[in-house]
């Protein structure tokens, strides 16, 4: 295929897509740059291979200066959704919501309801971790509450783990460049995100096989 044809394609996509930003950073007008704006989502096997780790990052491109004042929004629920039977409807959820200096973690457990609206799980599924203040060692907590024993959590600022030459990608789709640079430059280098990391025993989310998972942010009404 000819490069010129691809570039034409890229340019036309740029026209329909407008500003195109990275993994999910500022992906849509209604949430762009706000406290519910998800930047990234990861799910991977833990150091203890009996566990799975979920990472949700929100509020991207936080500079070190702004990191002093960046905070989680107490009206925004971050929810990890887990589908174990292939119908793309959540069978388990893990919920995270901050209050004062703590992040409260609910689950994993069967949600009260599925879909666009959520209510918090029962207190029997609740654990918490102190939100790590900027500039201090990461605070982690592992609960021994019987319904969710072994759930481990962290909440606070982290280096944005995402990497991409987004600036050059923008130049290509904008028609001012025709190829990536080598080496490229990581547009997200030196920036932070607000991060929630939850590690759970696989036995709590289906045990074996393949799950489908996605993260949502939901605002208190």
């Amino acid at each position: 295929m000819k490069t010129s044809k691809i570039l034409l394609g890229l340019a036309s996509i740029a026209l329909v897509s407008g500003a195109i930003i990275a993994a999910d950073h500022i992906d849509a007008p209604a949430v762009k740059g706000g406290t519910s704006d998800i930047t990234d989502f990861y799910a991977f096997q833990g150091e203890d291979t009996d566990n799975l780790v979920f990472v949700a990052n929100v509020q991207g491109l936080i500079s070190p200066t702004d990191s002093q004042t960046a905070s989680f929004d107490e009206n925004v629920l971050v929810e990890f959704n887990i589908d174990t039977d292939g119908d793309f409807v959540e069978d388990y959820v893990i919920q995270a919501i901050p209050s004062n200096d703590k992040m409260y973690i609910y689950g994993p457990a069967t949600p009260n309801e599925t879909g666009a609206n959520s209510t918090l799980l029962s207190d029997m599924y609740k654990s918490s971790v102190a939100i790590t203040p900027y500039g201090t060692t990461a605070i982690t907590a592992t609960t021994n509450a019987s319904s969710v024993s072994g759930v481990k959590a962290f909440a606070g600022l982290r280096d944005d783990p995402f990497f991409m030459d987004f600036a050059q990608y923008s130049a290509i789709v904008g028609g001012t460049a025709t190829e990536f640079n080598n080496p490229g430059a990581d547009t997200f280098a030196g920036t932070n995100v607000k991060s929630i990391v939850v590690e759970v025993p696989k036995s709590m989310i289906g045990g074996s096989g393949t799950i489908n998972t996605w993260v949502t942010t939901k605002r208190k009404q």
Binding site: D27, V31, Q45, S118, G156, D159, N192
Partner: protein
């Protein structure tokens, strides 16, 4: 189960008319039980960013995964073919052996597929590990560029299928919480 149905019924009432549910046994609970409503969502990296047209981005974020394929698969295919015109030929495939329809049907339901049985990676070159999760160090953008532009064997359009940023600016930890400390 009854409690759950009652709860949902009360939620609907509250949503509709700010009516205060007066069920005897959970009156207090209902008054404090807040409802949280969807604002943003994400499964695989960069899907909304790359495949959804600007006028649809908010709608895509508000469409739950079980309804995404029906609403967006054909739009994704149109956008993929505009991005990478080789896909307009019915014989053209990506390195996963998917033609445009199969590739966009997969992507239109924006969830991350994760194995509970072992290795978890977006792509590591080993066929059975493909789309088994997303690890921090996975170079997901290059993988997606390769699947869009790289053709059947990742050899096509080399100047467009790798951004040449292959690792994070800080090292990850092998231990919880895995992500690097902030700048």
């Amino acid at each position: 189960m009854i409690r759950k149905i009652t709860t949902i019924g009360c939620m609907l009432l509250i949503a509709a008319v700010s009516f205060n549910c007066s069920d005897d046994d959970n009156d207090m609970k209902m008054e404090t039980e807040a409802v949280f409503v969807l604002e943003d969502q994400m499964g695989r990296p960069a899907v909304n960013t790359v495949f959804v047209a600007s006028e649809d981005k908010d709608t895509f974020n508000m469409t739950i995964p079980s309804e995404q394929a029906a609403a967006f698969a054909s739009k994704f295919k149109t956008n993929l073919e505009a991005l990478s015109p080789a896909f307009t030929q019915s014989t053209d495939m990506n390195a996963l052996g998917q033609d445009a329809t199969a590739f966009t049907n997969l992507l239109a339901t924006d969830v991350l597929n994760v194995s509970l049985d072992g290795k978890t990676t977006f792509y590591d070159g080993v066929a059975e590990n493909t789309l088994s999760g997303r690890a921090l160090a996975d170079d997901v953008i290059t993988v997606e560029l390769l699947l869009i532009f790289g053709g059947e064997d990742f050899s096509e359009n080399p100047t467009l299928s790798d951004d040449n940023v292959s690792a994070n600016d800080k090292d990850f930890s092998t231990s919880f919480p895995y992500l690097a400390s902030p700048w």
